[in-house]
Symmetry: C2
Subunit: 118 residues, 2 copies
Amino acid sequence: MRIPILKLKDYLLVSVQIELDDKTALQFQEDILNKIHDVGARGVVIDLTSVDFIDSFIAKVLGDVVDMSNLMGAKVVLTGIQPAVAITLVDMGIVLHGVTTALDLEQGLDKLQQELEG
Amino acid sequence: MRIPILKLKDYLLVSVQIELDDKTALQFQEDILNKIHDVGARGVVIDLTSVDFIDSFIAKVLGDVVDMSNLMGAKVVLTGIQPAVAITLVDMGIVLHGVTTALDLEQGLDKLQQELEG
């Protein structure tokens, strides 16, 4: 199963609304990096509102997606991180340094626009 | 399988990136109407760029989604309709009167904002 990636102007929007198993997460990692390259995206908003549990593998993949996207020149904003997910991320030592977060998709998009357009 | 529905301000964004079988289409119909109700959406953009074939049943469901959303007070913009899909829709007699269309998601969102905000 693939997570749909929406393109809106220079940005990619992703709303994770299915349970992330290992295969889906890795497919997503590949898809998002390809899409960043294909459309020349400057920023990515990944909305995790519907994700209420992640394990260490998914947490690692998510951290990697952020780092890899940054390397490619696209800024990532994570939005809607639930309390349980925040706990897991920090427990796993994945502190996501330098990652912008926001409450929901629209605030994430606003932050991205502010940071990229000054 | 469910098609994710993203909320952005007063609008809902949907990008159909999986093959639409009958069950998925009906589930989508139910989900989008519930979401319109839940968030009080004023407009919906449904992007069909990745859909390169639809049958008569899916065409009917899609037409119904537009009519039902309109009844609920939400304007629907369909974007990225492929040539083959346009042919199928017209062949099936589903002309989607009064439906705004646009080339892609961002133009669809622009059109929606223009129409709803004057």
